[in-house]
């Protein structure tokens, strides 16, 4: 007998629960979400190919973090520009790689950024007299 046919009529405790029945009837009547539970999959499995497809803060958290970092650095660069005209022109997009990176290079880039931030912290920790 096919495996799935042997499941027929086998009700779990959960299915018999009044809450489940109430929720199921809500789904049927359309008063709540009807989207079926789908098997989870990694966002990187269907990774966006262009930056326009990446929604910051909504999609995969590593990509959101990467974008956030790039934006902050671009803002900082703008503030440090000597010419106000150049500052206006600076856009974070010029710092983005042409294609959205995959999981491994993304993690590697963020790790290296973290290490650089550690160096920065060490530099700022030096006593004033040690600085040139």
């Amino acid at each position: 007998m096919a495996k799935k046919k042997q499941f027929a009529g086998k009700k779990t405790k959960l299915a018999k629960l009044p809450l489940t029945q109430a929720l199921a009837s809500r789904v049927e009547s359309g008063t709540t979400s009807v989207a079926p539970l789908t098997p989870p999959s990694y966002s990187f499995g269907q990774a966006p190919r262009t930056w326009d497809e990446v929604l910051p803060g909504v999609g995969e958290p590593l990509l959101a973090t990467f974008l956030f970092l790039i934006r902050e650095l671009a803002d900082l660069t703008s503030q440090l520009q000597s010419s106000p005209d150049l500052a206006v022109m600076t856009n974070h997009r010029i710092y983005l790689p042409p294609r959205v990176p995959g999981y491994k290079p993304l993690v590697q880039a963020l790790r290296e950024a973290r290490e650089s931030l550690k160096d920065l912290r060490n530099l700022l920790s030096f006593p004033q007299s040690d600085r040139v």
């Binding site: 779990t12 809500r26 079926p36 539970l37 958290p61």
Partner: protein, 272 residues
């Protein structure tokens, strides 16, 4: 005000301890002051964070036995900055038996957690529906239910939801009107397609009550237990670490919506 989250499923082996530890660590790494309360006499959360139960001076057993003892007297810092733990050892099982004669025994933990200085408190519950779990249900304002992809986990979920209705004195209507709980799918293995399909169909009415993040089956999560570290410090680039970071961000989003707080960008000093 601290937000108290109970991690409960009376079925054993669903990933309660792993979830408590790694979600707690992720919250701490995101900059939130977090306390983990080990309410399981097996003390696996305590061991998991690197504390040997036989070295503990005061534990959750004292909270149960000594009237009006605040949790600050047993909370101890972990090796992660911003993450404290109220540890447990096997004596908690005897203490739980002793409180059965006490009046208001279900409110002991809630009283011990009053006036504490943490952003989040995560309670790791034992795999039963006894006085310890009832205490955590009484104290909490949100419930995370780790649910393995198995028939018996669904039965456990049904029993737990019935208990929640009773302890929180809620009607069925209240239970889904209030944003009180989320189911977390754990140990998800894509290869088990027949079981997955059946369980996901059974959980379909709970679509809005299930985290979008699922924790995939991942060997590094088991290995981290042996190393007595959280996954972010054991193997930060494994799928388990990514899943728990994603869970943390999803949880924070739910928490912000519940409390009408503005959205916040991810913290760079996170668990990567």
């Amino acid at each position: 005000m601290s937000h108290i989250i109970a991690v409960i499923n009376q079925k054993g082996g669903t990933g309660k301890t792993t979830t408590t530890l790694n979600l707690g660590a992720a919250l701490a790494y995101q900059g939130y002051r977090t306390l983990i309360v080990d309410l399981d006499p097996q003390g696996h959360t305590t061991i998991g964070i690197g504390i040997e139960p036989d070295t503990i001076a005061k534990s959750m057993a004292d909270i149960l036995i000594v009237p009006k003892m605040p949790i600050s007297e047993v909370a101890t810092p972990s090796y992660i900055m911003g993450l404290d733990i109220a540890p447990a050892q096997i004596s908690l099982a005897r203490a739980a038996e002793q409180v059965y004669t006490r009046v208001f025994r279900e409110a002991i933990l809630a009283n011990a957690l009053k006036n504490i200085d943490y952003d989040f408190v995560l309670i790791d519950c034992p795999p039963s529906l006894g006085v310890l779990t009832t205490n955590s249900l009484y104290a909490c304002d949100f419930i995370v239910i780790p649910c393995q992809i198995s028939r018996y986990s669904l039965d456990g979920l049904a029993d737990l939801l019935t208990t929640v209705e009773t302890v929180k004195n809620l009607s069925i209507e209240d239970l889904f009107q209030e944003d009180l709980f989320r189911i977390l799918l754990t140990m998800y293995d894509k290869r088990n397609s027949v079981t997955n399909e059946y369980i996901l169909e059974q959980l379909k009415p709970y679509r809005d009550k299930t985290f979008a993040t699922a924790i995939m089956k991942n060997e590094a999560l088991n290995q981290a237990q042996i190393a007595q570290k959280v996954i972010f410090d054991y193997e930060p680039k494994c799928s388990g670490a990514l899943d728990y970071l994603q869970l943390c961000l999803e949880f924070l989003e739910i928490w912000r919506k519940r409390n009408n707080l503005p959205a916040k960008r991810p913290n760079l000093q996170s668990c990567l």
